[in-house]
Amino acid sequence: MIDKVFPTPDEALHDVFDGATIMFGGFVTAGTPTNLILALQRRGTKGITGIANNIGLGDKLDVLCEQRQLAKMIATFAIRASGARQSLFEEQYRRGEVELELVPQGTFVERIRAAGAGIGGFLTRTGLGTLVQEGKQIVNVDGVDYLLEKPLRADFALIKAFKADRLGNLVYRGAGRNFNPAMATAADVVIAEVEHLVETGELDPETIGTPGVYVDRVVQCEPVPVRWYG
């Protein structure tokens, strides 16, 4: 029987290499693979290109800045309007120590979906006439201009779900879905942190949010308590 379960987050990350491109699921506190992020911090992998919706004050991802593990972030939220307190990422960004590519959130997730779905690119109006347009091809279809956006994939995706079975089927909960299902389709190695593990066959087929075909490794972890930083 297929069994994708790994005993610890650290073992699940055993082949993550320096310079890897890594996706991180999660939207602020929801669906964030905190245990995997902490294991990646312990592992000390350097030169990471991170792909995540947000890296900010209070985000667990910011811990990767403690030892300067990030070389670049592709994100939608990174620099806060208020400058009262700064994240480590913001400090390093201001010092020119880390690169940042900001992407509109809808384009961000659609680029990830495209990579997973074999779509070579898609046309969107989001970003037209703004800085986002720079360096991108404009395609006119039936008299309307669109930006051509390209797929975004990664070597690894670290994601979080509520439940899994040993085959890697995932069930999400609430707003914990967010970027996790799309990222699960768009990386060479997909590692899922889950709160509950059940035997294959115990999940209701109607409720599976990510079919096991997309998931390479599963680790069951106690969720790390989070506090709202709003």
Binding site: V28, Q105, G106
Partner: protein, 219 residues
């Protein structure tokens, strides 16, 4: 100096634009206050781009990390709510299925250009869902203070900050006025109680055309 509306009253005025059955996305900051000012019997569906349709008030209960709005705030669910992933959420936003987006603003131009993501003084910013909402929502309402803290007008002939989207704003609601963006320019339709239209114009860079029906806001 005339006192303008509080943030709460701006939100209250925006809430008056919403109708039964509308699907509404409230941006981070001032716009999130809007949901506090709706009659409880009015069924409005609030969409949050992180994957909820039909959330309710800000939650006072124990914090559930998987039940937050796009601002990271804990929320409750209204009857008929549903969850979905971000790809589905932005398909909803970009596909024109959101009736109204209420967004914060740094600047709005007389052509309805919106700038609300990049802060030159901070040398950066965050886009989040703002661009997608600005391009995708059927109607865009910007809720903001009429000027910056140091008195610089936010309603301008053209935006000086990098744009979020060109020509997308339909209505501007500030602490001083309600302004409609029309093909011919900006139409001043309402002023805050006790505020003179000339005063509003003096705090606005763009030219405002007073509506024939110009009146004081009802709050």
């Amino acid at each position: 100096m005339t006192a303008g509306l509080s943030r709460e009253l701006i939100a209250l005025r925006v809430a008056r634009e919403l109708r039964e059955g509308m699907v509404v996305n409230l941006g981070i900051g001032l716009p999130t206050l809007v949901s506090n000012f709706l009659p409880p019997d009015q069924q409005i569906l609030f969409q949050s781009e992180n994957g909820i349709l039909g959330y309710g008030r800000i939650s006072e209960e124990e914090f559930d990390p998987d039940l937050i709005n796009a601002g990271g705030q804990p929320v409750t669910l209204a009857p008929g709510a549903s969850f979905f992933d971000s790809a589905t959420s932005f398909a909803m936003i970009r596909g024109g299925h959101i009736d109204v987006a209420v967004l914060g603003g740094l600047e709005v131009s007389e052509k309805g250009d919106l700038a609300n993501w990049y802060l030159p003084e901070r040398g950066g910013g965050s886009i989040g869902g703002a661009m997608d909402l600005a391009f995708g929502a059927r109607r865009v309402i910007v809720a903001m203070t009429h000027t910056t803290a140091d008195g610089r007008p936010r309603v301008r002939t053209r935006c000086e900050y990098p744009l979020t989207a060109p020509g997308v704003v339909d209505l501007i609601v500030t602490d001083l006025a309600v302004i409609k963006v029309e093909p011919g320019g900006l139409l001043l339709t309402e002023v805050a109680p006790g505020v003179d239209p000339d005063f509003v114009q003096s705090r606005t860079e763009a030219r405002l055309r007073p509506s024939p029906d110009l009146r004081e806001m009802e709050l």
